[in-house]
Assembly symmetry: C2
Homo-oligomer: 333 residues x 2
């Protein structure tokens, strides 16, 4: 592989000049520039961005840490991050934690060793120690799908409490009283925890006693949703509605209910969370809380770059989420 030095020799200039035609062409005389570009062609020169990164201490690479790319919501925000980064000629290294905090820690470490310029993290545990370490060492990062609303760190998220509240209120207004919730494992997803809080608070505000037997916690998966829904339907005095902490759980719940011979939505109303694309294509269409995943990723990336570039102040951004009513919810029997 040829280097800048080879090019320089062929063109009869110094390496500095070659570097300049690459990085700031306007500072070199047109004639010289021509010589250099021609020399590049003749020796089939390939730029070495790694060497540049080494020299400048800027890798032009960021790390993106998410629970799992399998979840369409995270896939969507990943696109947002990538699209924003690629515009700036920055690459993104992707890592899945599978909702395991140790994995998150080790990813952060590896990515920092790789000298990423910054990190975008959908954390599994906002009170974990890595975030503090990153803060202490003033390493640029921003939280995605964040539940933190203030403090010295950059974050973008939605109001999960409100989302949970809205979902529950919608069901209550349809006359439901036995409202179950299928949630993620709280220790693995703070978001789920906040949604549950919204659910609880809403019940309280409408004078419906909270029944802890109507909470099922499970892995974020279709099967998890299916099995949990079945459990809730087997309880004495079973639920007539469930609020699921995400759409995959909700889709699973639909399946579970049908496997028990129920008609949807007459026998069971279901609300999801996320508004993934497929939610509107399923029958009955899934009522859900929509959150702007792509935008979240894009905004997160923008925030990060601002932070990397001008040491901007950390800020938290709350995006709008909203209830989308489709056919999976109906009046209580």
């Amino acid at each position: 592989m040829s280097t800048i030095l080879d090019v320089a020799k062929i063109a009869g200039v110094s390496t500095a000049t070659v570097s300049r035609v690459i990085n700031s062409p306007d500072t070199v005389r047109e004639e010289t520039r021509g010589k250099v570009t021609r020399a590049m062609k003749t020796c089939n020169y390939k730029y070495n961005a790694l060497a540049r990164g080494f020299a400048t201490k800027q890798s032009n690479t960021i790390g993106l840490i998410i629970p799992t790319i399998n979840n369409p919501v995270f896939a969507e925000s990943t696109r947002g991050v990538q699209d924003c980064a690629n515009q700036k000629k920055i690459q993104v290294i992707l890592g899945n934690t599978y909702y395991r905090y140790e994995q998150e820690e080790s990813l952060v470490e590896t990515l920092r060793e790789k000298q990423v310029d910054g990190l975008i993290i959908t954390t599994t545990n906002p009170r974990g120690s890595i975030l503090n370490i990153l803060l202490d060492e003033e390493f640029p990062f921003v939280l995605l799908y964040s539940t933190v609303k203030k403090g010295p760190l950059s974050a973008v998220g939605i109001d999960n409490f409100k989302g949970g509240y809205q979902a529950t209120e919608h069901l209550i207004k349809l006359g439901h009283v036995r409202i179950g919730m299928v949630a993620g494992i709280f220790s693995k997803s703070d978001r789920s925890f906040h949604r549950w809080h919204g659910y609880k608070q809403c019940l309280k505000n409408y004078d419906i006693p909270y029944d802890k037997n109507l909470l099922e916690q499970t892995e974020y998966s279709l099967t998890g949703g299916r099995d949990s829904a079945k459990k809730l339907l087997f309880r004495p005095n079973p639920v007539t509605a469930v609020f699921c902490s995400n759409d995959y759980l909700a889709l699973g719940a639909m399946k579970g209910a049908r496997e028990l011979g129920l008609n949807l939505p007459e026998d069971l109303s279901i609300v999801g969370f996320d508004d993934i694309q497929i939610a509107s294509y399923v029958i009955p269409g899934l009522t859900t809380i929509s959150q702007p995943a792509y935008k979240m990723g894009k905004l997160g990336a923008e925030l990060l770059f601002k932070r990397i570039e001008n040491q901007a102040k950390p800020e938290q951004r709350m995006l709008e989420s909203s209830l989308i009513v489709r056919e999976s919810t109906t009046r209580a029997p």
Copy 2:
């Protein structure tokens, strides 16, 4: 940030020794090793993998190029690649082409500048020039979801022709004659092209005349599937069954059919392709051709690493795909 040199000074050894405790601890005396590790702690040493990459010309990074992470199939194989890579302490940089070949070319270039050790590509155009360039320059890469069956390049894929054939045969055996196909744009997806060939060949083998009006080509999306299905249903002498080139199209087609008031599967049988997770959770369950996406990613990565490590011979691997019959297909009316 402290460097190996700082550590060396504190520990009273040379940088070579420090490097050795990092890379081959067993070659340094236990006592020295102790001194060094302690020195690392005291100055909070952080390893610089970028510098290493620069020195060794091995970035321990690979590039993964896919059409779009939005498609669950590609998300799944991305996981396969990542899981395999991370085991080897290798990171993966992800890039989406959005089915645009120029984007693919530019991604390859950028990633190579970043000195990735190899590439895994789900190409949009197997006859494009980049592949040949990569081959010429002996750059390690492997094709995923590949349609090439022989030649000097590494590739893993399934038999798309056979898949298309099986899907069609299934419909024919159910008595369908007016069988439409909703495919991707052939110039953007060779896979779709091969599936269509399988479809055509099968019709021929069963003496059903091929009607070019029953082919709809569209973007790979839910909306694309919906709109195309509607078009096919509005044809004179409309279809009683459609074979869709992927599950998203099929899910879209379901929606389209229902929007026209049809009952599924009685009025329209639908076959998809991919067997994405949601396919079995939808009502009616989607009959589809399953392909082992995770395995494909994993195998692709393994092949790549073998190639990087021991200059192994290129090889093509064909994985098994199979027809999964669910409820979305039934006898012709």
